[in-house]
Symmetry: C2
Subunit: 197 residues, 2 copies
């Protein structure tokens, strides 16, 4: 456990989201994921690394079977419930019910969202890469839907995550709130960056 | 730019590190990267997604040619210099010199570290996956060296990143400090998580 805790902290602060999926038989699943990264804007792509253990396996199977998943930002009041989704519930259990988070379905999108999440992303599966070094899987999804408060989006498209209330995580079990230090202008070789916004 | 800013913010708060490499000819290179994730603890693996544009191409080429790179956490006083490494310097320029960060070499390790970074990781290249949807590359490295203040490591291996001074980022250009909300016990199906540490 010492090594697992230590190595899990090395990547620094992490994105932490709830990943919603549904089986072809209509069984919803919800899993906390802390390895989501931006992959590209044109087309809009996000990646997440999944470990082949039981909790994340249900999520991977549902994505394989249905082609859709959601990512839902976590706020301070959702932390305990979000963390609890990492317990090894049996396949036939819904983590939504087990941890007390309400599911939300949107017309025309197969996978469930977390109703109380302020920033919800609906994605379609694009590609999957097996990491041969440890048998984890890197999954790429394309953003199909985006639900968030409009007043958190700036004129230039920047989302002030502190207004959304998004938390960040470290290691396997720690949750943090973030406070903006600065926003800097686009870097050019012969010019020092200046503060913007 | 609106879309680029918006999509870059969707993944939530991000890891932000300086990636140090050196060409086979001995030319150091330093690039800010915000797409580093934990991949596994046994063996200790980290992944980073690299875009095929000029700044990150020098880094990818050096990793391809030499097999080594470093990841260095960024603290508040390093933000402006770290951000400035994203300017498109010519290949023959050292970003260390250009932005005013001191390089540090350690015996037996080929790639340069950032001297003032409080948490430095030396990695060897393991594997690379080309994301076909947008031609980015997902690079996997294995942790070979780890330099950090011992008093930031807990008895169970957890690293208190707030003691290290690590910052986090959002979007293309915003930097944040993080404050711990809670650390929760390992989740079990019939038990609510409790606060630890």
């Amino acid at each position: 456990f010492y090594r697992r805790n230590l190595i899990n902290c090395l990547s620094g602060f992490k994105s932490v989201c709830l990943c919603g999926t549904m089986s072809p038989q209509g069984q919803p699943n919800l899993a906390i994921v802390s390895s989501v990264i931006h992959v590209g804007a044109h087309p809009p792509l996000m990646g997440m690394l999944m470990r082949p253990h039981v909790v994340e396996r249900h999520t991977i199977e549902n994505i394989d079977d249905t082609g859709f998943f959601t990512l839902n930002h976590i706020t301070q009041d959702m932390i305990t419930a979000a963390h609890q989704t990492s317990a090894r519930y049996p396949r036939e259990a819904s983590e939504f019910k087990a941890v007390g988070l309400e599911e939300e379905f949107r017309e025309g999108f197969f996978a469930p969202y977390v109703a109380t999440s302020p920033l919800k992303i609906g994605l379609s599966f694009k590609e999957k890469h097996k990491i041969t070094s440890n048998a984890t899987q890197f999954i790429i999804g394309q953003v199909e839907e985006l639900i968030l408060p409009e007043d958190a989006i700036g004129e230039d498209g920047f989302i002030a995550l502190e207004k959304v209330g998004t938390v960040t995580a470290s290691g396997l079990d720690s949750y943090y709130q973030a406070e903006r230090i600065t926003r800097l202008s686009y870097a050019k070789p012969d010019q020092a960056p200046t503060e913007i916004d």
